[in-house]
Structure formats: structure tokens, C-alpha cells
């Protein structure tokens, strides 16, 4: 191999490298520029469908080791150096306390609606309902729903809600939602991460492909956190034919026992409160 062929080889490698770099940039560009389908008005991006995350951030958004039946996961917090929530010292102590008591203290065990952003990354699907001028998300968990109102009218924030008050606008093909008025009874995951009623969330929903929505929530709460922070995850389209979200009832009975009522078990449904009605022969 002489100098010349070496130089040629070097050049080829360099060119290949540059082309690869270009190709990567190209990929990133294509992803950014994905153009969603439109609703019947020919204008509004079409986010309709049934979606679900594939990670296990619902266990702990800061990341967690593997547990029985649950795979390990990395933090979904993207803008702090260690992937941790920037708690104020006092609040961090509260979180540790919550974590210790999580087996009984998690409000979701009491069947409350999951709140924002927690409802987004639950291990159950959500359905986006949409038409020109309307946008709503129905979460399978506890049949919670959020009607997104245009931000042309101010927040209705004189009360605290389980699912907050949401005002949205379109920035290009990204839906940007401003969420306030959440109760401080909520947790962000099963690990005791929490917020106060001062929480303010800016959500961004952006389609990165025909079957993926990138979900981002920038969270600020000057009472609990030392600075704002952001989590990011991906919602995947459920492509099972004729998929539907199912009815999910999670309620406490008169004796204080909590039930997740499953619609695929008629015995479970019929044996408790109202068994005094002796039905004639089943059909």
C-alpha cells in the first residue's frame, strides 16, 4: 500500500464519516419535521387514537431498580444533571417520608384520579378525542378525563382539581398546554414524589411519527422545588385492531376496602353488595 492509496483510503473514510454525520442530521431533521395528518378542517394536527407509554416511570420518575414484576428504568427527567427532582431540603425530607410510607400513603391507592402529569405515564392507555376546536384526553385509569380549553379564556383556578385546569394553544404542530389548579393531595408516581398547589405545568405534545407522541412536561413549583424541571416520555399508538379503553372502577366500599373492579369477572362484580337479588336462571 503506497502513500497515495493510503491517502485515498483516508479520504474515503473521511467522506464516509461526513456522509454518516449528514445522514444522522438528516434523520434528526426528518423527525423534527414529521407532519401529522390533519382533521376534517384540513388544518388541525390529528392526534386521535389510543396511546400508552412503554416505560415504567409510574413507579419512580427519577428511575428505579428492577422490582418483582417491574423492569428497571432510567429517570425521565431530562434537564437536571443527575436526573433527580431539584427538591428544596425540607421537601426532599417529605419525599423520603412519602417513599417510606408508599405502600399505604400513595393517593392512587385510594382511587383518586391520578392528576397531571402522572395520568400520562400510567401503565394503562389513554384515548385522545379530537375534532376541530375540541381536544380531550380520556384516561382509562379511574375513567378520568381532561377537557382542554383554548387559552383564549383564563384559567378557572379558584378551586383545586384532581386533574387541574388546562388551557392550550397550537405552536405549529405542537400542542402546548398550561395546567394549574391541581390539589396538593396528588403524587407524581408511586415513589412519593409530590408537589404543592402552586404547581404550574407546561405540557408539550408533539407527534414524532405516525405512531408516536413525544410528551414533555415542564414543572415549576416554588414551594417544593428549587428550580423548574422537565420530564419527557413517549406515547405509543396502540395498534391492536378495534382497541378500546375499558371501564375501570376503583372505589372504596362501605367497609373501607378498596376494589379495582375488573369488567372481565362477573363473579367479582356480582358477589358483593347486591347479592340479595336472586336472579332467575341465567340467560
Amino acid at each position: 500500500m503506497n502513500i497515495r492509496s493510503l491517502r485515498l483510503a483516508f479520504c474515503s473514510i473521511a467522506i464516509a464519516g461526513v456522509m454518516t454525520a449528514l445522514a444522522l442530521t438528516g434523520d434528526a431533521q426528518t423527525q423534527k419535521l414529521f407532519t401529522p395528518a390533519r382533521l376534517s378542517d384540513g388544518k388541525t394536527p390529528d392526534f386521535r387514537g389510543i396511546w400508552q407509554v412503554r416505560d415504567t416511570a409510574y413507579v419512580n420518575i427519577e428511575g428505579h431498580p428492577a422490582e418483582k414484576g417491574i423492569a428497571a428504568a432510567r429517570s425521565i427527567i431530562v434537564d437536571t444533571p443527575d436526573g433527580k427532582i431539584p427538591y428544596k431540603p425540607q421537601s426532599l425530607a417529605q419525599r423520603q417520608e412519602n417513599y417510606k410510607n408508599r405502600a399505604t400513603a400513595d393517593p392512587s391507592l385510594k382511587c383518586y384520579q391520578a392528576g397531571v402529569p402522572r395520568a400520562t405515564y400510567l401503565p394503562t392507555p389513554l384515548q385522545i378525542l379530537q375534532s376541530p376546536g375540541n381536544f380531550a384526553i380520556v384516561y382509562q385509569d379511574n375513567h378520568a378525563f381532561r377537557v382542554f380549553h383554548p387559552d383564549t379564556r383564563p384559567h378557572f383556578d379558584s378551586a383545586d382539581w384532581w386533574m387541574g385546569d388546562t388551557r392550550y394553544r397550537w405552536e405549529g404542530d405542537t400542542l402546548v398546554a398550561d395546567v394549574v389548579a391541581l390539589t396538593d393531595q396528588l403524587w407524581l408516581d408511586q415513589a412519593g414524589n409530590f408537589h404543592s398547589t402552586e404547581i404550574h405545568i407546561v405540557e408539550r405534545y408533539r407527534m414524532t411519527g405516525a405512531d408516536t407522541i413525544e410528551y414533555e412536561a415542564r414543572i415549576e413549583d416554588p414551594v417544593v422545588y428549587s428550580k423548574p424541571w422537565t420530564l419527557r416520555t413517549v406515547l405509543y399508538r396502540i395498534k391492536v385492531p378495534a382497541a378500546r379503553i375499558i371501564e375501570d372502577e376503583c372505589l372504596e366500599d362501605a367497609n373501607g376496602v378498596r376494589h379495582h373492579i375488573s369488567p372481565d369477572d362477573p363473579k367479582n362484580l356480582l358477589k358483593s353488595d347486591y347479592s340479595r337479588w336472586k336472579k332467575p336462571a341465567q340467560k
Binding site: 382533521l39 376534517s40 386521535r48 385510594k110 382511587c111 383518586y112 384520579q113 384515548q127 378525542l129 379530537q130 375534532s131 375540541n134 380531550a136 380520556v138 375513567h143 378520568a144 378525563f145 377537557v147 380549553h149 378557572f156 379558584s158 378551586a159 382539581w161 384532581w162 386533574m163 378495534a242 378500546r244 379503553i245 375499558i246 371501564e247 372502577e249 372505589l251 372504596e252 366500599d253 362501605a254 367497609n255 373501607g256 378498596r258 369488567p263 372481565d264 369477572d265 362477573p266 362484580l269 356480582l270 353488595d273 347486591y274 340479595r276 337479588w277 336472586k278 336472579k279 332467575p280 340467560k283
Partner: protein, 287 residues
């Protein structure tokens, strides 16, 4: 029945919320006159595909009674200056629904009437169909979002949701739910919904009327003008009723400046246990 008054506490709280959303300072009378006028000549709103467009925010109306029912057990409507009405059978309201039970079911119904505190809705369970729509008049709005594939009903009451496909598809097997399973189809301009797969635990109202898991409902939604939906439901249940139960009332459009709010029916209706036996409660029962 004290259980009824407890339910009315929910009712009152939510009604106040609706008021707040409309701008708390506006007098009630003014609000009642804000309802959009019914112009019979105006064409029905339609989706691009030509189907009637049911979208918007709707309230069950009790006949000519427009506005809110903030009431007490005897039917007094505080929101209408003490006039009666707004509830089932209120003045100018729809005709009362008639239930004709089999003898065994009639006995069960009378027993449930005495055990009103066991009404599953008082424990925040989903109301089922048609009770999801047959809430007391003028109280809980329903947001309808619609496209060519679904007519979706978002009920403020009990944050109940029904996402109804319009393709007349089949009911699933091995599925039993409070709201059953709804499959819709278009018959001309009427949206007809077939509802089956009920879990059999539903009460139809606070007065002990009930169905079991053999319940089957056919609902008909018809826009009679731009601001009115005629709702009709036929309930059959061969093990409970000797003949189908017919129900009909109207939903009126809510002015655009109002919005649906969150309804949180929380677990543990403790107060039901604290009523004494003679009040229909369980106070004498020990754990």
C-alpha cells in the same frame, strides 16, 4: 330518606360550581335568559360528512324548566325562587317513567326503596345507562365530542365517559361493566346506540328502581333543532320487567361561555353509616 339528602349535597356543591363557571356575579334569572334561543328554522349543525353535529355542552332539561335546580328533598327549587320543579316529575317536566316489574322484582324493588342508602351512585359508582343521562334536570352538563368514528359523551357527573363507536360493531364477549358496552349506528339523522354487557348492579334512580345483568338498552339521540337533543331510551330486562321501560327527555345546549368542571365523587361515603336504622342508615350495625 337521608341517603337522598346526602346525594343532594353532592348535587348542591356541583351546582354551585356550574354557577361559578358561568360567572358567579351574574344573577340566576339573568343566567336563565342567557340560554340560546331556539330558532326552528335554523338548519341543523352538521359535520363535513353530513351527519348531525351533536358537539357542544348540554344539560338535561326538565321540560320548560330552564336553569339550575338547587333544591331540597320536597322538590323546592331555590334557584327558581322556591318554585317546584327541575327534578324528575317536576312541573313541566317529562312524564314520569313507568316501571312494570315481575312479582319477584317488585318485592326486591320495594326492599331497595327501604335501603336507599345502598344506592351504588351514592358510593360514587358509575351510574350506568340510561342513568348517566337521566341525572336530575339542569345540573351536570355533558360534553359531546364527535367525529366520523365516535360519538363521545363526557359526563360531568361521576366523571363518567362513554366513547361510542358509530360503526354498529358487535358487543364484546366476557365483558361486564357499570356502563355496559355501547355500539352506535345512524338511522337517518338519529344516532341509535345499542347498550349491553351490564354488570347487573345498577340502580336506575335513587328510589330503588333497578335492573340486573340482563338489561339491554336502545338509546336514540335526535337533534330536533340546533340547541335541543331529544333523548329516548328503551330498557328491556326480561328477568326484571314484564314490559320494556320507555324514557324520553331533552338535552338543551349550554351557552358557550360555560364549561364542564371536574366532579370528584370520593370514596368512603362515611355518613351513610352514621345514619340510624330508622333513617335508613346503618348506625346500629357494628363492624
Amino acid at each position: 330518606m337521608k341517603a337522598v339528602s346526602t346525594s343532594h349535597c353532592f348535587v348542591l356543591a356541583t351546582a354551585l360550581c356550574v354557577l361559578l363557571s358561568a360567572g358567579g356575579s351574574r344573577p340566576l334569572a339573568a343566567q336563565a335568559t342567557q340560554a340560546p334561543s331556539n330558532a326552528p328554522s335554523a338548519p341543523l349543525p352538521r359535520l363535513p360528512g353530513g351527519r348531525p353535529d351533536f358537539q357542544g355542552l348540554w344539560l338535561k332539561s326538565a321540560g320548560g324548566f330552564q336553569g339550575l335546580f338547587i333544591g331540597s328533598l320536597d322538590g323546592t327549587n331555590l334557584a327558581a325562587g322556591g318554585a317546584r320543579g327541575g327534578g324528575r316529575g317536576g312541573r313541566g317536566g317529562p312524564p314520569p317513567t313507568r316501571y312494570e316489574y315481575t312479582p319477584e322484582a317488585e318485592a326486591e324493588r320495594m326492599d331497595r326503596l327501604r335501603r336507599g342508602y345502598e344506592d351504588p351512585e351514592a358510593r360514587c359508582h358509575l351510574p350506568g345507562v340510561p342513568r348517566a343521562l337521566d341525572q336530575p334536570g339542569g345540573l351536570y352538563p355533558i360534553q359531546i365530542i364527535q367525529d366520523e368514528k365516535y360519538v363521545s359523551l363526557l359526563h360531568e357527573a361521576m366523571h363518567d365517559v362513554r366513547i361510542i363507536p358509530t360503526d354498529n360493531s358487535r358487543h364484546p364477549k366476557n365483558y361486564w361493566a357499570w356502563d355496559g358496552d355501547s355500539r352506535g349506528r345512524w338511522e337517518g339523522d338519529t344516532f341509535v346506540v345499542d347498550v349491553s354487557n351490564f354488570n347487573g348492579r345498577t340502580w336506575l334512580d335513587m328510589a330503588g328502581n333497578f335492573v340486573d345483568e340482563n338489561e339491554h338498552v336502545v338509546e336514540r339521540f335526535t337533534l330536533t333543532d340546533a340547541d335541543t337533543i331529544l333523548y329516548e331510551a328503551t330498557i328491556t330486562d326480561p328477568t326484571v320487567f314484564v314490559k320494556p321501560v320507555e324514557m324520553r327527555f331533552t338535552l338543551k345546549r349550554v351557552p358557550a361561555e360555560q364549561q364542564i368542571l371536574e366532579y370528584s365523587c370520593l370514596e368512603g361515603e362515611r355518613s351513610l353509616q352514621h345514619y340510624t336504622e330508622e333513617d335508613g342508615g346503618k348506625k346500629l350495625r357494628t363492624k
